[in-house]
Symmetry: C2
Subunit: 333 residues, 2 copies
DNA sequence: ATGTTCTGGTCAATCGTTTGAACGAAAGAC
DNA sequence: GTCTTTCGTTCAAACGATTGACCAGAACAT
C-alpha cells in the first residue's frame, strides 16, 4: 500500500493545529510553548500518517541539506573503507547523510555538476588529489571543504595523519631486528602521503646512521608494487628489508619477492603502512603499521560540520599509530 | 572569492529575459521557441555568473531528486567495490548521483529516516538482507527499490547473477582435474547467494556422479573462512579440493589449510567465487570464478531508472561467467 | 479598572524552479 | 482590412517547510 506522500498540512489537519505548530514540534523548537496535550495530538498524527519531512522543501527554505559528500579515488582500495566507515558514523551521529563517490581528475568536475547547488553542505576529499581545477570550482561555490590525508598546495584545509611517525616506527622495527640495507618502496610522487612517508623514512634512516637504500616509487596497487619490487631486486646490492608505503602495493611486492626466487622473511623482510584484516591472512602474514583511518574520517566530518567556507584547517591527527608485528619481518640472513 | 549563490532570477536579469526562459533554455525544453540570439544571451549569462541550478528547489517542484541510493553491508568487502563502480557509472550516464551507504539491520531504518522523503528516487539493496522491517517501510514510502544479488522472500524485485552456473564451473574444473572428494565451504545460510551457490554445487556433484563432500558454512570474511577450513580438515576423510563460496572467505581458508600443515595445491586445491585483482597476488595465486559484478550494479541502476513503485522485477543477469585458473588448483595427490 | 506580561498558538512571506496559460506583435489567409 | 496563426516571450501559481511577526485571551500587577 503505497500512500501518496504526506505533508505538514495533512498532519496539521489531522491534529487540528496550524502547520507552523507541527513544524515546530517536529523540529523540537525550544521557543515554542505548547500545551502537552496538543503536542501529543501532533505527535500522534505524525505517527499515524507516517509523516517524514520533505527534504527538498526543507533545504530550500533553510539552505541546509544535512548531507556531506566524500570523494575517494577508488572503492576497490580497502584502505578507504575504513575512512568511509568512520566518516559515516560521525555523520550519522550528527544527523547527516554521507554520500560517498569515487571520481578523480576531470570526472570530479562532472560529478560536482551533477551534485548541483545546495545538495551538500560540505565536501571531504580523500586520497591523491589532482585537484587544481576542482579547488577553483569549490572556492567559488561557497561550500566548505576539506582534504583528508592529503594536502593542497594552495589552501590550508586538511586533516592528515602522522605519516612520518608511521614510517619511523616501521624503520625502527627493521633496524632493531638488525637490518642495515633498508630499501623504500614509495608511493606515487603525486600523492602527499607518499611524500610524507618517504620523508619519514629518510629521517629515520639518518637517525639510525644508515645510508638510504634504493627508493623506488609505485602506485598504491598490487600490480604497481610487484613491478617496483622486481626493479628493486634487480639492483646489484640487494636490500635485506623493504619499507613499503602502502599495504596494497605490499601485496604485490610480496609476489615480486617470490618471483625473484627469494623468500620472505628469510631473504627479505617486508613492512607496510596500513593494517587490514587481510594482512593477517597473507602468506606470510604481513607486518604493518596501523593508522587511525576511521578516526581520520570521523574527525573530517566533525570539522566539516563546524566549518565556515573561509576557515582554514591544518591538523595532524594525534591518534594511535602502532606496529603490528606478524611474520613478514625477521632478522637479516 | 566565494560569491553568494546565483539564482535563475540573477541570470534572467543579466540576460534581460524572464526566469522562465532561462529555465527552459537550461533544461533544453523542446517546446520552447526562441530566437537564437536570445538563447545565446542566456547561455552567456549562465556562463558568466557560473549559475548552477538549485537542486532543492528543482526537486521540490518536480519531485524528482536525480539521486539513487545504494546500500551495502560493508565497504571493507572489496566484492561490493565492483558493484558500486558499475552502479555509479550507469547512474552518472543517466544524470543521477549515487549515494552509497553501508548499514544493515536496524541501522538501515535509521539511515532511511535520515535520508528523509524526497531525497532519492530509488533504492538498491545489495548483499545479505535482514530486510523484513525495511521492506515494509519501503513499501509505504512510494519509492521504487530493487534487491541486488539477493532475493526477498516476499516481493519479486531483484536482479541476481547465475550463481548456480558459477558453482558448476568451479566444480567441473575440479572434476576435470581428477578430484572426487570435493568439499564445499559455503556462505552464511541467511545469504541468498550462499544458498544458490550451494545448490549449484550439489547439482554439479550429482551431475558428475560424486557424493557431496563435507559442507561447512562460514561468513564471507577471512576469519570465517579460516575457522571453517579448520573444522573441515579436522574431519576423518579429508577432501582433496574445496569449492569456496566467496573470495574473502577463501583468503582465510587458505590460511586454514596452511595452519593444518598442508600445502595448496599439492594437498588441497581451492577455487572460489569472485575474482579480484588481489587473487592473482596471493600465495599461491587463487583460482577463481569471475562474475559480472559491475554489470550487476549497472543493470540495477538502469532498471531502477525506469521502474514504477509497483513493478515487479525478477532477473537473472546473463553476463560472462568464467573460470580464471591460477595456481591454487591442481590434480589430486 | 487599567495596563502589562505570558500562554498558546496562527498568519503569511519566503526559499528557487518549473510549467501551463496567457499575451502582444508580426505574419499569413481570404 | 480584418481574422486567424504562429512566434517569442512573460505571468504567476504551484511544490512543502520554516520562521519572524502578530494576536486573542487569560493571568497578574498596581
Amino acid at each position: 500500500m503505497k500512500r501518496s506522500r504526506v505533508t505538514l498540512a495533512d498532519v496539521a489537519a489531522v491534529a487540528k493545529v496550524d502547520r507552523a505548530v507541527v513544524s515546530r514540534v517536529v523540529n523540537k523548537d525550544p521557543t515554542l510553548s505548547i500545551r502537552p496535550e496538543t503536542r501529543e495530538r501532533v505527535l500522534a498524527a505524525v505517527e499515524e500518517l507516517g509523516y517524514r519531512p520533505n527534504v527538498a522543501a526543507r533545504s530550500l527554505r533553510t539552505s541546509r541539506a544535512h548531507m556531506f559528500g566524500l570523494f575517494i579515488p577508488d572503492f576497490a582500495n580497502p584502505v578507504y573503507a575504513e575512512i568511509i566507515k568512520g566518516a559515516e558514523a560521525e555523520a550519522a551521529s550528527q544527523g547527516y547523510v554521507l554520500v560517498t563517490g569515487s571520481a578523480s581528475g576531470a570526472a570530479l568536475g562532472d560529478y560536482m555538476d551533477r551534485i548541483g547547488q545546495g545538495r551538500i553542505d560540505g565536501l571531504l576529499l580523500a586520497g591523491t588529489g589532482d585537484e587544481s581545477g576542482l579547488i577553483a570550482q569549490l572556492d567559488r561555490s561557497a561550500i566548505p571543504w576539506l582534504m583528508l590525508n592529503n594536502r593542497s598546495r594552495s589552501v590550508k584545509r586538511y586533516v592528515i595523519l602522522d605519516d612520518a611517525r608511521a614510517a619511523a616506527l616501521a624503520v625502527e622495527h627493521l633496524v632493531r631486528l638488525g637490518h642495515r640495507r633498508i630499501a623504500h618502496l614509495a608511493g606515487p610522487s603525486r600523492a602527499d602521503t607518499a611524500t610524507r612517508r618517504s620523508a619519514g623514512y629518510s629521517a629515520a634512516m639518518r637517525e639510525a646512521g644508515l645510508p638510504e637504500g634504493p627508493i623506488v616509487a609505485a602506485d598504491y596497487t598490487p600490480a604497481g608494487g610487484a613491478a617496483a619490487m622486481a626493479r628493486m631486486l634487480a639492483a646489484p646490492e640487494r636490500p635485506t628489508a623493504v619499507f613499503v608505503a602502502n599495504v596494497a602495493s605490499a601485496i604485490g611486492a610480496m609476489e615480486g619477492v617470490r618471483a625473484a626466487g627469494l623468500e620472505i622473511p628469510r631473504d627479505v623482510s617486508i613492512v607496510a603502512v596500513h593494517d587490514l584484516e587481510l594482512a593477517g591472512y597473507l602468506n606470510p602474514a604481513l607486518t604493518t603499521v596501523r593508522m587511525p583511518l576511521g578516526e581520520l574520517g570521523r574527525r573530517g566530518v566533525a570539522l566539516l560540520a563546524g566549518l565556515k567556507p573561509d576557515d582554514t584547517v591544518a591538523e595532524v591527527l594525534a591518534g594511535p599509530i602502532e606496529l603490528i608485528q606478524r611474520r613478514s619481518t625477521a632478522p637479516p640472513p
